[in-house]
């Protein structure tokens, strides 16, 4: 009965005309940035963050969340038609999606991706509504030590699941924490590491940092490689509705992808990306014809596409119930909510039910909108893919410039963005992933406050983190994850997930 009441409440909020309109705008923008390679959901969301200042928290999160799952949806289009993933979670869709398109089956590939995404997206919203309230209730028992340990565990998982070197990922998390310490100390009011720059008094801005690391750096990398453009298949896209056989073949993959994607999406560091890779691996493993994967097997599209959309919903669970963002996009959403005075965490559902149920309701409707936006309008998205990069990159730069400026109405934010653009470019050159840095930058101030509160409670003893049972479990799991690769290496086995191999 309670679930039904929640469902009705969520629809009531989402069906308000302004919320409905913002949900549609979010889905449309999300599909747009998902389709266009070069402007990912992270940069787009941070770009639009200042525009949400005029909205209330419910409206803001509905718009931003729409961009997120819209991008997950739209990302498949470029993977299938151009063999370039619109966003990271669609990388694996290239393997079979593009091959299907080459064989003249672009229509069914796009169709099954949209149908799988719709089913998985709806499944994840239902799961989010069922799982989040009890998790949130449990998390109300957490005190500052538990939050420190949980943040530590979250950061550890993010670094463990990073696709490159784990040491580099850990370094990124540490650097993110250090950057998070810049600014005025919240406890004593002391200025720290600002180098006398007024723009740093409130800390390193999240919006210019993300736009620099994800937007500007991407443009710089593309520019130095010479404005190349993927080859778009010139065939007419027909038969978007898959045949009965296609649906029969894909049903299992969609179901497995939905379940797997949701639970992997909940894990910090997992998000939509991990689910799509794992789903592909599972489908290939259980298939009677594993050799057909990579040759245009429809299950290689249906599974990962379902998993990445389900994972997108799952990623909301730790953010909305524990206040732990499990990927960069969730970190931006967290930053956005905090700007609006709403702190994500266990108190979110009891204190701001309209925010939680508003998101849930908008996701129900958003999934239907996305089906309409993606399938009948496929022609428009394909035309968009033909836009020359020499015309696209000035627009990306311009949007980033305006986004950075409107963040704090100061040109200094443009310079902060530029610096992080150069930093992001160098990260790519030196093999560093910026995602753990952004997560740590968001979590840093929260973690520091909880850490100092914990030590005040314990009278300065760090033992508080291991004498409280829940905290001790988090610390133990984090240490196991940190030490596992070392132990497995000593035993002569690799200790990381094969993300790169699968890609």
């Amino acid at each position: 009965m309670e679930a039904l009441n929640h469902f009705i409440l969520s629809l009531q909020i989402a069906l308000e005309p302004i919320n409905l309109f913002l949900c549609f705008c979010g889905c449309l923008i999300g599909t747009f940035v998902g389709v266009l390679p070069g402007l990912g959901p992270a940069a787009s969301m941070s770009l639009l963050l200042p525009l949400t200042f005029a909205l209330n928290p419910v409206q803001a999160i509905i718009l931003l969340a729409g961009i997120y799952y819209g991008a997950m949806y739209g990302g498949s289009t470029t993977s299938i038609l151009v063999n370039i993933p619109g966003e990271a979670a669609s990388v694996v869709t290239c393997l079979d999606g593009y091959r299907m398109a080459q064989k003249g089956r672009a229509g069914p590939a796009l169709g099954i991706a949209a149908i799988g995404s719709f089913i998985a997206g709806t499944f994840s919203v239902i799961m989010l509504m069922l799982v989040a309230p009890p998790v949130s209730k449990f998390a109300l028992k957490f005190g500052p030590p538990e939050f420190v340990s949980l943040s530590f565990l979250g950061l550890t998982l993010v670094t463990y699941l990073a696709s490159g070197s784990m040491i580099k990922a850990l370094l990124m998390a540490a650097v993110g924490l250090l950057l998070g310490f810049i600014g005025t100390d919240i406890v004593t009011g002391v200025e720290r590491f600002t180098l006398g720059l007024t723009v740093l008094l409130d800390g390193v801005g999240l919006v210019p940092t993300i736009m620099g690391l994800f937007g500007i750096s991407e443009v710089l990398i593309n520019l130095e490689q010479g404005l190349r453009q993927g080859e778009i298949l010139q065939q007419k896209i027909e038969h978007l509705l898959p045949t009965r056989k296609d649906l029969r073949d894909s049903a299992g993959a969609i179901a497995r992808g939905s379940i797997l994607g949701f639970f992997l999406g909940v894990i910090p560091g997992g998000g939509a990306l991990l689910g799509s890779f794992m789903s592909y691996a599972v489908e290939k493993r259980i298939s009677r014809e594993p050799h057909t994967f990579g040759q245009g097997n429809i299950r290689g599209v249906a599974g990962p596409e379902s998993a990445n959309n389900s994972g997108a919903g799952g990623a909301f669970v730790p953010l909305l119930t524990l206040g732990i963002p499990c990927n960069v996009i969730m970190a931006i959403l967290m930053g956005g909510l905090m700007i609006h005075g709403v702190e994500p965490g266990p108190r979110l559902i009891p204190d701001h039910p309209q925010v939680f149920f508003g998101v849930v309701g908008s996701m129900y409707l958003g999934n239907i909108m996305l089906l309409i936006i993606n399938l009948p309008l496929i022609g428009i998205w394909v035309r968009l893919l033909k836009l020359r990069y020499s015309l696209l990159f000035p627009l990306i730069l311009f949007f980033c410039l305006i986004g950075a400026y409107t963040n704090g109405n100061t040109v200094q934010d443009i310079y902060v963005m530029m610096v992080f653009g150069i930093v992001g470019y160098l990260f790519k050159k030196f093999g560093y992933e910026p995602a753990p840095l952004v997560l740590a930058l968001v979590l840093g101030p929260i973690m520091e406050r909880a850490f100092r509160q914990s030590l005040i409670i314990s009278g300065g003893s760090p033992m508080i983190f291991i004498t409280r049972p829940i905290s001790a479990i988090f610390v133990f799991v984090a240490l196991v994850i940190l030490l596992a690769p070392l132990i497995l290496k000593l035993m002569g086995r690799g200790g990381r997930l094969p993300l790169e191999e699968e890609g």
Binding site: A54, I402, G460
Partner: protein, 150 residues
């Protein structure tokens, strides 16, 4: 990657070390409670430690063939021009105002980085500047007007 790992490891050592020293100077403990420098000190030391591991790993790794830093002869020129454009945008925004700065910026990047034809450059820049002006005005976003007043 060996050389790049060595360079980055040394950089992170200095970076982490600076925060650790800064933290020490801010104070680790104040009136019996953790001071403003406590966390930066701890995380700074962790950064130095991790950078140390990376340094050792890099030293032990066999050096592969050295990659070119810039893949094309034109790369550096394009990157410098893009960064110059961004910097100039920040510099001119208050004086020239949003619309004019946007127009000048787009003309610059489209022509000198994108090598677009002049007709495309003028049309695209003017269209984007005017459309964005109308969009942001309708959204009541406060943007600098400059001496021209738009």
């Amino acid at each position: 990657m060996k050389h790049r790992d060595l360079i980055s490891a040394l950089f992170w050592m200095i970076f982490g070390g600076a925060f650790a020293i800064g933290g020490l100077m801010q104070g680790l403990v104040r009136q019996g409670i953790p001071g403003p420098g406590s966390m930066p000190f701890i995380v700074g030391l962790i950064t130095v430690g991790l950078a140390g591991i990376l340094l050792v790993q890099a030293l032990w790794t066999k050096a592969g063939p050295r990659e070119k830093f810039f893949p094309q002869p034109e790369s550096l020129r394009k990157l410098s021009l893009a960064l110059l454009g961004i910097f100039a945008y920040g510099l001119l925004l208050k004086t020239l105002g949003f619309t004019l700065t946007t127009f000048v910026f787009l003309v610059f990047v489209l022509r000198f980085i994108g090598y677009e034809k002049w007709s495309t450059v003028w049309l695209f820049s003017l269209g984007t500047a005017l459309l964005s002006y109308l969009l942001f005005t309708s959204l009541q976003v406060e943007l600098p007007k400059g001496f021209v007043g738009i």
